[in-house]
Amino acid sequence: MSILFYIVAAVLVLAALNMVVQRTPVYSALSLIVVLCSLAVVYLLLGAEFMAVIQVIIYAGAIMVLFVFVIMLLNAQREEPSHRSRVSRWLGVPLIGAFTVEMLMVIWRQFPRGTTPPAAALDGSPQAIGHLLFRSYVLPFEVTSILILVAVLGAVVLAKKEF
């Protein structure tokens, strides 16, 4: 069962790498959809079935569709190589590698191998999430509904042609 996690993790890293490296925005968007669906599989492996379905429906099914719409609407073409200096690239990539190694060492030191076996199975069903969402977290829930309303109004106003 845990071999599936490593396979999905490899797919995740390769798709994320492809997303960052591709020059055509449509290919990046498709790679990001692969990342999102693979993350939903990882959530299922963690026992969180509600969040996995939410991830596929909302993130991969609504947000990424919006991205693809905008890419097609604006007819985003291939990105040309930069005319500016390449110093940032030659200096930046090794620094990114150093940062990654440093973060992985922090994790390794904090959670050494084998100290944290998973606890009893977590109840990730909609009933359990609903109990929390509508009792303890009902205020953030209502505030996010206002946030979405404001975002809809803002998006309509910002994308209009004329006032």
């Binding site: 993790a9 609504a62 905008v70």
Partner: protein, 102 residues
């Protein structure tokens, strides 16, 4: 049963986050930069979910729920801004977005 230790989930989250940050800094197409932001948000979501599982607490998943909702609102408004920018400058290159004037 699932015998993957917590550090492996966190390592995967770190790798995704660093890839997103690298793309955010180095890419010049606005929409690709925006997608790298979404990748960073998803890396953080993965860390939240892993911690929620390993502590037996469902609050981490509630936080992921709210992160997804806020990411949706941010994507809508951000893409509307990108559309308005494209209408004014006819370019999707962040090097062309260098002044506040129209």
């Amino acid at each position: 049963m699932n015998m993957v230790p917590l550090s492996h989930y966190l390592a995967l989250s770190v790798i995704l986050f660093v890839l997103g940050a690298a793309g955010f800094i180095f890419r010049r197409n606005i929409i690709t930069v925006f997608m790298c932001i979404e990748l960073m948000l998803n890396a953080v979501n993965l860390a939240f979910m892993a911690f929620s599982r390993f502590r037996g607490n469902l609050d981490g998943q509630i936080f992921v729920f709210f992160v997804i909702v806020v990411a949706a609102a941010e994507a809508a408004v951000g893409l509307a801004i990108i559309i308005a920018l494209h209408r004014n400058r006819e370019s999707l290159n962040i090097e062309d977005v260098d002044s506040m004037k129209m």
